[in-house]
């Protein structure tokens, strides 16, 4: 089991946790979807938001570092109410001179109409929005202070900014996961409870992480589970393709398409082109080596695609059997050296 203290600071864990906390789940279940219970749904994930021109014009000359756009990890929406929470997952607090602080200021400036415009809503839509930072409970107060100082900085030069709140994540000795919410924040955010709310029921000697919707976020440090998840999801997509193929047909393995499917479309929005290429190359290498060893005469390469001819039931059996015995994609284990998601391309 990974160190649980590392886990609660892991960006991918935090991101997937937020998604699970918006799921419709039965009462009394091992995961308590506190956001869902409070009426929040996922509006979007890693949605790029541009700072509207009037704000960009106004900020110039103020000697304040902001980015022209940002992509909050998750936007939650209170259904039918035009009330949004822009959720950012953070391992720890950050300094007011860091690149993270530039993104944070952009988020702060996306208040009300500015967010409405960035989301493409109708001009007369009245939007209420707040920023929520999710971080380890022991970083919560420090992160709160950082946010306060940025708020003051922007307010001092005449901006009205979004209210910001910090929620903490902590664990206990049974490996249960808690969300730590201050009582004032609970009311402001429209959540149902405050204090330390158990959101995942733990078990002894057991890693409490839930299934991952998003298997990999190359913009942050890689973790073993994320890569394992991507690897297994790729294998399941490959097996699905082969298993469904008719005899006497050609199977087209499009590496980009496989990655799109394995990440549920997240691969396509990763901003770092090099990162995408790197991953695509690895998938292609894995598939090529596998095909050469199994049916060398049945396949051909075409740019990013591998085409396999299935001429008989035996061909299909050979390849299905081999992939079913495949436990891992070794080539994926090499470090994925990339920074991902659009938001970080500028950082």
């Amino acid at each position: 089991m990974n160190n649980i203290n590392d886990l609660i600071g892991d960006h991918l864990f935090q991101l997937n946790l937020v998604l699970w906390l918006t799921q419709p789940l039965p009462q009394g279940f091992a995961i308590r979807p506190i956001f869902k219970e409070s009426g929040y749904l996922v509006h979007s994930i890693s949605q790029p938001l541009a700072l509207p021109i009037p704000i960009r014009e106004k900020i110039r000359g103020k000697n304040i570092n902001v980015q022209d756009g940002c992509s909050p990890d998750v936007i939650l929406e209170k259904s039918q109410k035009n009330s949004f929470l822009l959720v950012e997952c953070k391992k720890q607090s950050f300094g007011t001179n860091s690149t993270t602080s530039e993104q944070a200021r952009t988020l702060l400036l996306l208040k009300g109409r500015a967010l409405s415009e960035a989301l493409g809503l109708a001009l007369d839509t009245i939007v209420e929005n707040k920023i929520v930072y999710l971080t380890r409970a022991d970083q919560k107060s420090q992160l709160n202070d950082t946010c306060k100082s940025m708020v003051t900085e922007l307010e001092n030069v005449g901006f009205t900014v979004c209210p910001t709140y910090c929620l903490g994540i902590k664990c206990d000795s049974t490996n249960s996961i808690y969300l730590v919410i201050d009582s004032n924040d609970t009311n402001e955010l429209g959540l149902l409870e405050h204090g330390e709310i158990k959101v995942i029921e733990g078990q002894p000697e057991t890693d409490p992480r839930p299934l991952y919707f998003i298997p990999l976020d190359p913009s942050v440090e890689q973790n073993e589970y994320g890569i394992k998840t991507l690897e297994q999801r790729l294998l399941s997509e490959i097996l699905s393709l082969i298993g469904r193929a008719k005899i006497s047909s050609k199977i087209q393995f499009d590496c980009e398409e496989l990655l799109e499917k394995a990440t549920w479309g997240m691969y396509g929005i990763w901003g770092d082109r090099n990162a995408r290429l790197n991953l695509k190359r690895k998938v292609k290498t894995f598939l090529s080596e596998k095909m050469v060893s199994l049916l060398p005469n049945n396949f051909q390469k075409e740019q990013d695609k591998l085409i396999l001819s299935l001429n008989s039931s035996q061909d299909k059996e050979t390849i299905l059997s081999s992939f079913q015995k495949t436990k891992e994609i070794e080539v994926l284990k090499a470090p994925l050296q990339f920074k991902l998601f659009e938001k970080n391309e500028n950082s």
Binding site: M1, P26, Q47, T206, L211, S236, W264, Q324
Partner: protein, 414 residues
């Protein structure tokens, strides 16, 4: 006795007459306990959602398995086994081929295996899976529709095969021990109970039986009494229906009724569980990545002990031929917790699962056929926990099954 000559059947009316006449003869033999030929059986099958690869013709599915379809009318075919040259029965297609009923006169011992093998080999075909919870809803329909003095037959089946590592795989399902002395002794919970009684008598008692003895939640067979004569229609959990009445038309009508309920159930299931990051366009261009879907949650009534949990994981994911027909390399997260990003091998579609001693969470990616859910629930009730509580998102499976069975109309035939 009517000579059955399927080859000469040229239209739907002739088929109905043939099967009606045949049913009357078999019913007479049944009454005299002298059955000479196979009863009429319907095998309810489902093709992959959207009929994606098979839209051109049903033959695409069956031809690779030595079966040829001879079209009678738009939705009706004769099925010829090309190897033996023998006609195996009729195939009727519903809702543009999404669901099929294969009517056969062969003996169960021959045709059951043939259909099972066909489903096993074809990635486009699956059985219609009626879980114990779905049967509980169908039982409500039997009570509602039938005279309380009529007899019904209910079979309950549960075998805790994972309580010991019995090294069984799905090929063992067909094993029949001819000799009692050869039967192996397994000390594990194994129940197969058949109840035959008046509906009026069972009406209020079944719930109580189930509360007292949980394997009775796992109904695997149920008889709908025929409204026009004695006998009825026995539905099995894997989508088989045997005609024990004297009317084929009545049999077909029951088959259609159950199929319609199942179709609604599949539609509702897919609406709820299909997970995806949906791309939603916005006014100013660009797209949102919206997460849509809800997980399937199975809560075990009692936690599985560590031994049972491990046997379940090993039997399912370390044996190519496993009862659940799942593939995956479990990621161990603790003594009684694994994650599997795997494949449902019935239709070769992805499925993600968290399995612990207390629950199973399944994520069904968009495109994976909804019947994966019902097969999984059915197998969990039969082999793991007959009383497992099942929800799709936060809505109970029972409730969804109940909604699917409400006010079935003729519009739904379309």
């Amino acid at each position: 006795m009517t000579e059955v000559n399927i080859s000469e059947i040229k239209n739907r009316e002739e088929m109905i007459r043939l099967l009606d006449g045949y049913s009357i003869e078999r019913k007479e033999e049944l009454d005299q306990k002298k059955i000479k030929k196979g009863l009429v059986k319907s095998y309810l099958l489902e093709t992959v959602d959207g009929f994606q690869d098979t839209k051109k013709t049903l033959s695409d599915i069956l031809t690779p398995f030595a079966s040829e379809l001879i079209q009678i009318d738009e939705g009706l075919y004769k099925v010829l086994n090309k190897n033996s040259g023998k006609y195996m029965g009729f195939l009727e297609s519903f809702w543009e081929g999404r669901y099929l009923a294969f009517y056969s006169l062969e003996l169960s011992k021959n045709i059951d295996k043939l259909v099972k093998d066909l489903v096993l080999l074809s990635p486009q075909l699956d059985h219609v899976w009626l879980s114990g919870w779905t049967f509980n809803i169908l039982w409500e329909k039997v009570k509602e529709l039938s005279n309380p003095n009529r007899f019904t037959r209910i079979v309950f089946e549960h075998e805790s095969i994972f309580e010991i590592d019995s090294d069984t795989d799905e090929t063992d399902e067909d094993q029949i021990f001819e000799d009692e002395e050869e039967q192996l002794i397994f000390e594990r919970r194994s129940s197969k109970i058949a109840l035959v009684d008046k509906i009026g008598l069972l009406k209020d008692k079944l719930n109580k039986f189930q509360e007292l003895y949980s394997p009775m939640y796992s109904i695997t067979q149920l008889r709908f009494p025929s409204p026009i004569a004695r006998g009825g229609h026995d539905f099995f959990h894997f989508g088989k229906a045997t005609n024990r009445s004297e009317s084929f038309r009545d049999h077909r009508s029951h088959v259609l009724y159950v199929l319609k309920i199942y179709r609604e159930l599949i539609k509702k299931t897919q609406e709820i569980v299909w997970f995806s990051f949906e791309k939603v366009s916005i006014q100013k261009g660009g797209e949102f990545q919206k997460l849509i879907g809800a997980p399937l949650i199975v809560k075990f009534r009692e936690p599985l002990n560590e031994e049972t949990f491990n046997h379940f994981i090993i039997s399912t994911f370390e044996r190519v031929k496993n009862r659940f027909r799942l593939w995956g390399n479990p990621i161990r997260l603790g003594p009684k917790k694994v994650h599997v990003y795997g494949v449902d091998k019935h239709l070769w579609q992805p499925i993600f699962m968290e399995i612990t001693d207390k629950h199973i969470i399944a994520i069904i990616p968009k495109g994976t056929c909804g019947n994966t859910v019902h097969r999984l629930v059915s197998n969990i009730q039969i082999y793991l926990d007959p009383a497992a509580e099942v929800t799709l998102g936060n809505k109970s499976y029972r409730e969804i099954a109940q909604d699917s069975s409400r006010e079935i109309t003729y519009e739904q035939y379309k």
